[in-house]
């Protein structure tokens, strides 16, 4: 797991969300920005584009349709102040105490991390209740949704030794591993297994291989042996094409 990351810009997608989604960077970028026109890649054009490049990050992930509906072309994106954090310390699956609001003092487990806004969702706590009204003689329903909590001051990690909230620090062990340590008791708080979970698999070994996936044995097989030839020369030998004509010299300019 990559723990060393820097959220340098408030416009960028967080590293943890990328890790969870397992999507290529180019796709996230493509789905986020709504560009209407881009100048062609030719020397007589400067690199310009027309369209919307920023979006407002919310609980909806930036590549989904919901976020596209929120950020249409002609909506203004407000400036959102996000406190920069050097080392992210709360992960999915952590036990956490809420310090603010209606559920103050209750403990719960983190379901989701929204790194772009320094937010965290705690399971079955800090809920908002909304009623969907009657429509076409259908019965009305009540929906409960978790509301986000700020990582920096609205939530704190729990020390496993006495189950009370504590402040933490990142330190190195003798073996060189980077670990979280609670300042009060000096105990290591291990990173939960749920933090490694992604959209496609729970753990790597339990991943189900799909129809169009190359198996692990084929990928990790070494077949390359260096020879004094280029890629094309090697293939010509293998296919069995012989060529004697030598190209005449040219001027490059």
């Amino acid at each position: 797991m990559r723990l060393t990351f820097i959220l340098q810009d408030f416009k960028k997608v967080g590293e943890l969300t990328k890790q969870y989604s397992n999507l290529p960077d180019s796709y996230i970028k493509r789905s986020m920005e709504q560009i209407i026109y881009r100048t062609p890649d030719k020397p007589n054009y400067l690199r310009r584009s027309v369209g919307k490049k920023q979006i407002k990050f919310t609980e909806n992930r930036p590549w989904t349709i919901q976020s596209k509906l929120e950020n249409t072309l002609f909506t203004k994106t407000p400036v959102i102040y996000v406190e920069p954090i050097r080392d992210w310390s709360i992960f999915k699956g952590d036990r956490v105490e809420i310090l603010v609001g209606r559920d103050k003092g209750k403990q719960g487990i983190v379901i989701q991390v929204i790194q772009e806004r320094n937010w965290v969702l705690v399971g079955n706590l800090n809920m908002k209740i909304t009623t969907m009204k009657m429509f076409k003689r259908k019965p009305s329903t009540v929906i409960r949704e978790e509301q986000p909590l700020r990582v920096t001051d609205q939530v704190s990690l729990i020390d496993p030794s006495d189950m009370l909230p504590c402040k933490i620090e990142w330190r190195y062990t003798e073996e060189g591993e980077k670990v979280r340590v609670s300042l009060r008791s000096g105990r290591i708080i291990p990173i939960p297994i749920l933090a490694k979970e992604t959209y496609d698999y729970k753990t790597r070994t339990s991943y189900e291989e799909k129809d169009k996936d190359t198996t692990a044995d084929v990928v990790s097989k070494i077949t390359f042996t260096p020879r004094l030839c280029t890629f094309e020369m090697d293939l010509m030998d293998k296919v069995g094409i012989k060529e004697d004509r030598i190209p005449s010299p040219v001027y490059w300019y």
Binding site: Y27, V79, E83, K210, T223, F224, F231, S248, W252, Y253
Partner: protein
């Protein structure tokens, strides 16, 4: 065997006599050796249907797939394997593009479009590995990198531009036509005013960005009490953070 070859040759040069041949040598033609010359409807449909996805996946909301190939994984593979993989990826890309168009025409969302990016990424990685190998050979034997060269030159207006060089059969000083079309020199006195304004534009943009950062840092200090100031200085080196740290109107509602 001779009979087969004879029919093959005959059929090859007279494709429109197929009916006559089929009536006589029908069972022979259906053998696998004749597959390349077979003109039944099934045969062609099969090959063209490679442009489409498997029919069992049609109309699904989501089609799961693995990740793209990394450069480190491709560096292990031999040239022959890379050659084969390229064509597999190319076929997959063509299939995805046709399916994307196909769904678009029917007004339905294309399921999991990130597959296109995955395939393109692995094609890009494969190309870099091939280029590395070619470069190693050329640098060892000839001392040059064997690729198409390019140079940074100045435009006729005076702006820097990357020129990708081309092959020619006559030297540069003889080629008058090329000189007319490609001007890589500029008169400084003529372009002076334009360049002055262009520089001003860049500096104005920089200034705008700096001011924006300043405003943002002010806002951060106003809202959050325990900001990591050393880290803030690292991220925004242009902004004078100490100036805003203890400013009067930046202090928030909390007790000092």
């Amino acid at each position: 065997m001779q009979m087969k070859l004879y029919i093959q040759a005959y059929y090859k040069f007279n494709p429109f006599l197929s009916n006559c041949i089929r009536s006589h040598f029908g069972p022979l033609l259906n053998s696998p050796n004749f597959a390349s010359f077979c003109t039944t409807r099934e045969r062609f449909n099969k090959n063209l249907m490679e442009f489409f996805e498997d029919k069992k996946n049609w109309g699904k909301d989501e089609i799961r797939s693995g990740r793209s190939w990394k450069t480190d994984e491709l560096r292990i593979k031999s040239n022959e394997d890379l050659h084969k993989l390229w064509y597999i990826l190319l076929k997959e890309k063509n299939m995805l593009l046709t399916m994307e168009h196909f769904y678009k025409e029917n007004y339905i969302l294309f399921p999991s479009p990130e597959r296109i990016d995955k395939v393109e990424e692995s094609m890009k990685n494969l190309e870099t590995v091939v280029r590395e190998r070619n470069k190693a050979y050329y640098m060892l034997e000839t001392g040059e990198d064997g690729e198409r060269p390019g140079v940074m030159v100045h435009n006729a207006i005076g702006l820097p531009m990357y020129h990708k060089q081309e092959q020619h059969d006559i030297p540069k000083y003889e080629n008058i036509q090329w000189k007319k079309n490609n001007v890589h020199e500029f008169d400084y006195e003529e372009c002076r005013e334009f360049l002055k304004l262009y520089r001003e534009k860049i500096r104005k943009e920089d200034n705008y960005r700096r001011k924006k950062n300043n405003r943002y840092v002010k806002g951060l200090l106003k809202r959050f009490k325990n900001v990591d100031i050393d880290y803030l200085k690292e991220i925004y080196p242009d902004v004078n953070v100490d100036q805003y740290k203890n400013h009067d109107f930046q202090i928030g509602h909390w007790e000092v």
